[in-house]
Symmetry: C2
Subunit: 212 residues, 2 copies
Amino acid sequence: DLNDPGAIAARSRDLIEEYLGMEFFQRKFPGLAGEVVRRVVHATGNPQVASLLRFHPGAVEAGIAALRRGALIFADVRMVKAGINGRALRELGGRVICPIHHPRVHSFAEERGITRAAAAVYLFREQLRDCVAVVGNAPTALAEVIRQTGQGFRPALIIGTPVGFVGAAEVKARLQSQQVPYLTLIGSQGGSAVAAAAVNALISLAQGRAGL
Amino acid sequence: DLNDPGAIAARSRDLIEEYLGMEFFQRKFPGLAGEVVRRVVHATGNPQVASLLRFHPGAVEAGIAALRRGALIFADVRMVKAGINGRALRELGGRVICPIHHPRVHSFAEERGITRAAAAVYLFREQLRDCVAVVGNAPTALAEVIRQTGQGFRPALIIGTPVGFVGAAEVKARLQSQQVPYLTLIGSQGGSAVAAAAVNALISLAQGRAGL
């Protein structure tokens, strides 16, 4: 029944496990990481995305712990914010900020000749400390998050899945060389739906439910 | 320079044409349809998505004409709305409605045991007439749009790209058997980013610019 979201999620989970095989999860994404992978595959409708995902070994635990203590989620673009399960997040005491459309961000970006997404990270860098930083769209925002992490504004977890053929793969590769917990995927694919799906999986896990 | 969106779009366009080859566009998506394809590939970072796209022969012209006369855009979920270039749309005199979170929708969905996305389409079906209907997420919403199209609430264009392994492929296949102009893709892939990218390409074209 397409009107029963729980039944659809369960059936989707079965199909994803069938496509990828349980050995794939056991070998590449054991434990709770696999829950995040299932949710991302569900959100993209593309099982091939699973083999592009890369997790820092402490990423899932860091994300769950942060969400359980009501950590802020910093989103680079509104599409990421719109994709996050706000009701479940509020139950955990958390909320999403997405300052890209703040008037100061607009003028600062113009002055410096940088993107608004990067300007938002720079101007609101104090909010990065111990947050879950989520960059689904802009490579420049992820580059700025990485830079601020080195300046003492260290998120609990960086979910960095900017999309595109220009600059995205490079900055995602750089994210994987960081000490900070991260969740990313290699290459040009990604986007706001991938980022929001990863956040939603972590919110579910933080609430003691399955990722999908 | 990653801070120059125009330069990034131009470089991305070159790379997409290189990946897919100009013959692909000439053979499969001649004319303005190719502009929409480029934008969707850019938004997903995945050139393989191009060969999944399907256009009704009159889809692009119908979409451009509707947007030029300031037609309403009906979005199934907030993520689609968040992904649409609102500033450019307002320049054309258009706007996006996304009634899924309307209080009546919530109670109606509960009463009938249907999804909120489908309930929103049903309750706001008057708005479907001559609109650009955009379903990026919910197969049930696309099924309801198709049903209402047959009841006299006919959009100018249906952009239907719901994602998932359960029900999405089937309803997208059904969309392709309709007489109404449509834009979709086959199989399980899709999502809000694909839908928003298609809308943004049509907005650009309606303004006399390139799709990407």
